[in-house]
């Protein structure tokens, strides 16, 4: 098996982005295309699984051809096809998985099944300046909020995770409740940028606990209750200030726990991953706190934080090096499993 010039075609359809990318040797992005469905789902106020799946099948073939064209590669020069097969919306995942399986079979190239959350972490490796092990990873997205310890490639120890809502989910629900718009993360961030935290007070849930568990459902409910109370009281309820306080309460817990985790494990780097890693306030605060504690923060470029296929190809590259290939029976799974399986390994 060749050791360099390894080109992986990555395919990602786990939620509302259809994405195809070609990555060489794990960090050279030859092409990275994302067909976003945000505008399609906006009128529903959130991602509708059946609508997302219908869009995936409409664009997957042309997006794949464009990604190869942009990479300047004939398809035969792809070394393997990597596809996100869990976790995610099952109907959406199945489009990418079915297409990738058939494409790999048709090319007679190896197929690699990639865990979408692992791929988010691997977005940190899509650079010349690669992370150094051991590291602590904060994975924050619409479906996950986890702190993981990583000593070597492809091995993750779960240090703690959310007991209820994921951070991104809380952003979405609060944004919808406050009528800030869709998608929730950018909507709350934009509203918060027009105000400052502290005018209202929301709890920093679990900050007093000595572990790495999170809970955002209570924070979400507190924000909603406070908003209702403000509206009833006839006071001048300022939505931007509430958004700023909500964002601050959430970010503060994420940052503190991440720093504590890094200190406990005595690591020099924290890797940020997942769609919520695109949040400006989180990036700003975690960078400042880490610097004060002599810890480096590794954050993927903005466009590599949200769902994309370059990260899938990158994670697939490390599986390729291990010879970890999938069979013709590769299936899609809504639940993660992978990160948990390797926990405490």
């Amino acid at each position: 098996m060749k050791q360099s010039g390894i080109r992986i075609l990555g395919i990602e359809t786990s939620c509302d982005e259809t994405a195809v990318a070609v990555v060489e040797d794990g960090n050279i992005i030859r092409s990275n295309l994302v067909a976003s469905q945000i505008e399609i789902h906006r009128r529903f106020g959130g991602v509708v699984p059946e609508v997302a799946s219908r869009r995936h099948i409409e664009v997957i073939a042309s997006l794949t051809e464009e990604a190869l064209k942009e990479a300047g590669l004939p398809r035969q020069e792809i070394d393997a096809v990597a596809v996100a097969n869990s976790p995610g919306l099952i109907g959406a995942l199945l489009v990418g998985v079915s297409f990738a399986k058939a494409y790999a079979y048709g090319l007679n190239k190896p197929l690699i099944g990639v865990n979408h959350m692992e791929a988010h972490i691997y977005a940190n490796f899509l650079t010349e300046n690669k992370p150094i092990f051991p590291a602590v990873c904060l994975v924050v997205s619409g479906g996950h909020t986890s702190l993981l310890y990583m000593e070597r490639h492809r091995e993750f120890e779960m240090m703690g995770e959310t007991r209820d809502d994921a951070a991104g989910e809380a952003f979405d629900k609060v944004a919808r409740f406050l009528g800030l718009g869709y998608p929730g993360g950018p909507a709350v961030q934009n509203a918060a940028a027009l105000a400052s935290p502290g005018k209202y007070h929301l709890p920093r849930v679990y900050l007093d606990r000595n572990d790495f568990e999170f809970s955002f459902s209570g924070l979400k409910t507190a924000a909603m209750n406070l908003w209702n109370k403000l509206q009833r009281s006839g006071e001048d309820a300022e939505v931007n200030y509430l958004a700023a306080e909500f964002q601050e309460a959430l970010v503060e817990v994420l940052v503190e726990k991440s720093i504590n985790a890094a200190r406990q494990k005595n690591v020099k780097q924290i890797l940020l991953a997942g769609g919520v890693a695109a949040n400006a306030r989180l990036r700003e605060r975690i960078t400042a706190e880490a610097s004060a504690n002599n810890i480096q923060i590794h954050i993927p470029a903005l466009e590599l934080c949200t769902d994309n296929a370059a990260m899938v190809a990158c994670a697939g590259y490390y599986q390729y090096l291990d010879g970890d290939f999938a069979g013709l029976d590769l299936n899609a799974f809504p639940q993660s499993g992978l990160l948990v399986k390797k926990a405490c390994g």
């Binding site: 799946s53 042309s62 199945l94 079915s98 399986k101 790999a104």
Partner: protein
């Protein structure tokens, strides 16, 4: 000219190889919705058992709907992936056309029906033999009474005294349809499955006419909108 046809529109998955001499190979796995796991393996077995290879295939036929939304997409995504990677044309064959083709010679109003759930049936009407099969309606989603009423209209129009029904919609609504259609209705007693070979035969006919689909724009025929779109249209809010 060799067609590889795949069908995952219903709980039964099928793969077939069809050429000018007719059906060369067919496999059906009526084992419920696990097509994502089994389909490619079934294709691989088809090649190994026939000594054909993917290179020998001239076009890929796929059942394009209606049917299970997810099932249709598994078949369609697989067909697109194979077609692009192996540089083969793709041909989509509507599920109901393939089902009607299976009994095309029956001198009756032919009506393949699939259980569409929510009290409805996917169906279409065809004029059977003698002569070539001719579809006379759109692909529809109907309640059994509406289907019976539409059937009566076509039977009068085409002067046909019999309606021949096939498909898993028969299994679901057999007694209700008997009550509605009486002696005019004929149907198999056993459960009846769509077949990839029918899709293959129809795809072969199109291939020799040079009538292929565009791999990029070919899409499943859902007949129905998504539930969220229906709710939005009714002003109920999507979620």
């Amino acid at each position: 000219m060799l067609i590889l046809s795949i069908d995952t529109a219903t709980p039964s998955a099928g793969v077939a190889l069809v050429d000018e001499k007719g059906l060369r190979y067919e496999a059906v796995a009526n084992t419920g919705y696990k097509h994502s796991r089994t389909l490619l393996d079934m294709i691989d077995v088809a090649f190994r058992q026939t000594d054909y290879v993917l290179r020998d295939v001239d076009a890929i036929g796929v059942t394009s709907g209606p049917g299970s939304f997810t099932g249709l997409r598994i078949g369609m995504a697989s067909a697109k992936g194979l077609a692009l990677a192996a540089e083969k044309p793709v041909i989509g064959i509507p599920t109901l056309d393939a089902m009607a083709f299976h009994i095309a010679w029956v001198p009756a109003l032919i009506c393949p029906i699939l259980n569409a759930r929510k009290g409805e049936i996917y169906g279409a009407f065809y004029q059977g033999g003698p002569g070539p099969l001719k579809r006379v309606s759109d692909y529809l989603a109907l309640s059994p009474p509406a289907l019976a009423e539409t059937a009566r209209t076509y039977m009068d129009q085409l002067d046909l005294g019999t309606i021949s029904l096939v498909g898993d919609g028969v299994d679901e609504y057999r007694s209700q349809l008997h009550d509605l259609l009486g002696g005019a209705m004929v149907c198999p007693e056993e459960p009846w499955l769509p077949r990839a070979s029918s899709t293959g035969h129809l795809a072969f006919r199109r291939l020799i006419q040079g009538d292929i689909d565009d791999v990029f724009s070919l899409n499943p025929i859902y007949v129905r909108q998504s539930e969220a779109e229906n709710r939005l249209a009714k002003g109920k809010g999507a979620r």
